[in-house]
């Protein structure tokens, strides 16, 4: 999994451990990002995504384990490592009272970008992000999507080799989200390695590689098209107008059944035809019950409830 061939790995995290007091935030976390690759960290709030990213940027020190950015240890040579990383924290963290170009100027100065380079890059980034018309607008007056694009531009002004983006599209409208991901894809094509976290499962399918995180562990990993094969069972979908009532009845009758609701649908894993028929007979005749292919979210939910199995899976992979 962590092959180091001709090109250096953009980011390599190995066996990270981190605790906050008694709470263990990361359990033996390992991951790698190749140049030109978009790696998505998905998982609910509190699963350790932000902690992992802060350790990768050198903002937090791990209790154990190692970090390499293009073979550089950020805790031994922090300055060199920082030159290579572009980071976008989860919270909007540019200066709202400064304009778009003042924010860019500030960060380019901190990275000692020359004036010539700055002007050229700013022009290119503005065109690229289509923030051009808003150069002199204060950051506080930008829309959510534009703010995130500006933050990305500030993280790119020193032409980093690795981008670490902590939930960059949270709270951004769907159109801007799409646009943002298009930009990420273009950046990856230029050879930048990207580690991005997201709570949106649909965005996971836009990554090259997905890491599912839960309670500080990686519970599943794979390409978006493959990762659903980790789903341990078969899956059926129930559609009905009164889905709440059906869910309640099913859970009363079969307390061990894992029933997940997705809008007006229920997803239930089952092991064999016999169980399928049992479930089907338990709901009214009008109700549609169909076997379906599990999605990323189904896989996540299934793996989340079986941490031991997937933990073994990970150690086989990395060992």
């Amino acid at each position: 999994m962590f092959q180091t061939g001709k090109t250096k790995v953009a980011l390599l995290l190995e066996a990270l451990e981190k605790s906050y007091g008694k709470i263990k935030a990361l359990h033996h976390l390992s991951l790698s990002v190749e140049p030109g690759q978009i790696v998505g960290l998905i998982g609910p709030d509190g699963s350790g995504k932000t902690t992992a990213m802060r350790i990768a940027t050198g903002l937090l020190t791990p209790d154990n384990g190692s970090v390499r950015i293009l073979d550089i240890d950020p805790f031994i040579r922090p300055r060199q490592a920082k030159e290579l990383i572009g980071y976008m924290p989860q919270r909007f963290s540019l200066y709202p009272d400064l304009t778009v170009s003042e924010n860019l100027r500030f960060f380019s100065d901190l990275y000692l970008v020359t004036k010539h380079d700055r002007i050229e890059r700013q022009e290119r980034l503005m065109k690229f992000s289509r923030l051009g018309p808003f150069t002199n607008r204060r950051a506080s007056k930008l829309s959510g999507g534009m703010k995130q694009k500006l933050a990305l531009m500030c993280a790119l002004i020193h032409t980093p080799s690795l981008l670490i983006l902590d939930e960059p599209t949270t709270g951004v409208d769907p159109v801007s989200r799409q646009e943002f991901w298009n930009i990420l894809r273009e950046l990856a094509e230029q050879g930048i390695g990207i580690l991005v976290s997201t709570p949106y499962m649909d965005e996971a399918s836009l990554c090259d590689n997905i890491l599912m995180m839960y309670e500080g562990r990686i519970i599943g990993t794979g390409k978006p098209e493959d990762i659903t094969t980790l789903f341990p069972d078969k899956l059926l979908e129930i559609r009905d107008i009164d889905i709440t009532e059906i869910k309640r009845k099913l859970q009363m009758k079969y307390p061990t059944l894992s029933v997940q609701r997705f809008g007006d649908k229920l997803h239930i894993p089952y092991s064999d035809e016999e169980q399928f028929e049992t479930i089907k007979s338990a709901v009214p005749d009008r109700t549609q019950v169909n076997p379906i292919k599990p999605g990323i979210e189904d896989t996540f939910v299934a793996l989340m409830s079986k941490p031991n199995i997937t933990a073994d899976y990970i150690s086989e992979e990395s060992g």
Partner: protein, 368 residues
Amino acid sequence: MKRILAIARKEFLHILRDPRSLAVSILMPLMMVLLYGFAIDMDLKNIRVGVLDFNRSAESRSFINEMVSSGFIVESARLSNRKEIEPGFRQNKYRAVIIFPADFSLSLVKDPVTQIQIILDGADGTSAATVANYLNAVTSRINLSYAKEDFGLDILPIETRTRVLFNPELRSAHFIVPGLAALIMMMICALLTSIAIAREKETGTMEQILTTPVVAPQVIIGKIFPYMVIAALDATLIFLVGKFVFGVPMNGSWFALAGYSLIFILIALSLGLLISSVAKTQQVALIAALMITLLPTLLLSGFIFPIASMPAVLQYVSRVIPATYYLEIIRGIILKGVNWYPRMGGILTGMSLFLIILAIKRFKTRLD
């Protein structure tokens, strides 16, 4: 250097973009020096004194005339019996009452010692003491004239002749304005910078800055620059107000004053940054900055209470308060015209370096 300038530039923009804070940081010191300058006026003028004269003679009248002739004391009430004394104090009609006994004029002729009584309002101890001193002075002046009349004596054996240097009229503004300058500069500077880092921690921008290759000294020094300009402006305003509004003379060199003031400003700004890099939120930082600067500077620097009359422990404490030295220096420059203070200047420079280094050391470049 470029990084320091980038941070200074950004901090300048923050200040300029927030006109309200800018106005506060310029107008507040001005308001303070005007308000305090007028309020903390320790010169007593027009002190009201009540008179209870049971004697009603030419002698008692001449005593009263002598008393009010200087303008420090005015006769504000004429009482007719002792029962009226207390209510008058309660209604603040006077700060003191002078009582002439019925046999005052007779006793002057007959007895070796004649008594008059003075009753003071202890609720305002400072004024009471001043009134007592003043009335004693009046009494001895009158004594002298009786001595001359009755015994042909021209002089009393010992006479003190006091001459006050540097502030001949003992105008309190002359030593209060320098004190105010120290107090206000300390407070405003520490308050200005105390939120400078805490704000970035609170809004999350610190997280972004820390992922850039910038290091602690660059952040701290970059942040001091812009506030130094504002503080220098404040100091200039305070001293100009002192000179032109309160009539404080300037006997020393403006350059010396500016030089020592800049060192003092640097101390206060670094102290604010130190607080800011330790505090988690802006509010905590602000309150801490106020607590640490206001009371010690006000009470222990020799601004109001002379250090020599403090308990030994507090005298030691006063030695670590920067304002103690600064105050002595600027009073010296302004009133005495002495411009060179190698020892105290050295102590202040040492303090400023110590605080800057401490602020840099305490500035965390990690989030944990």
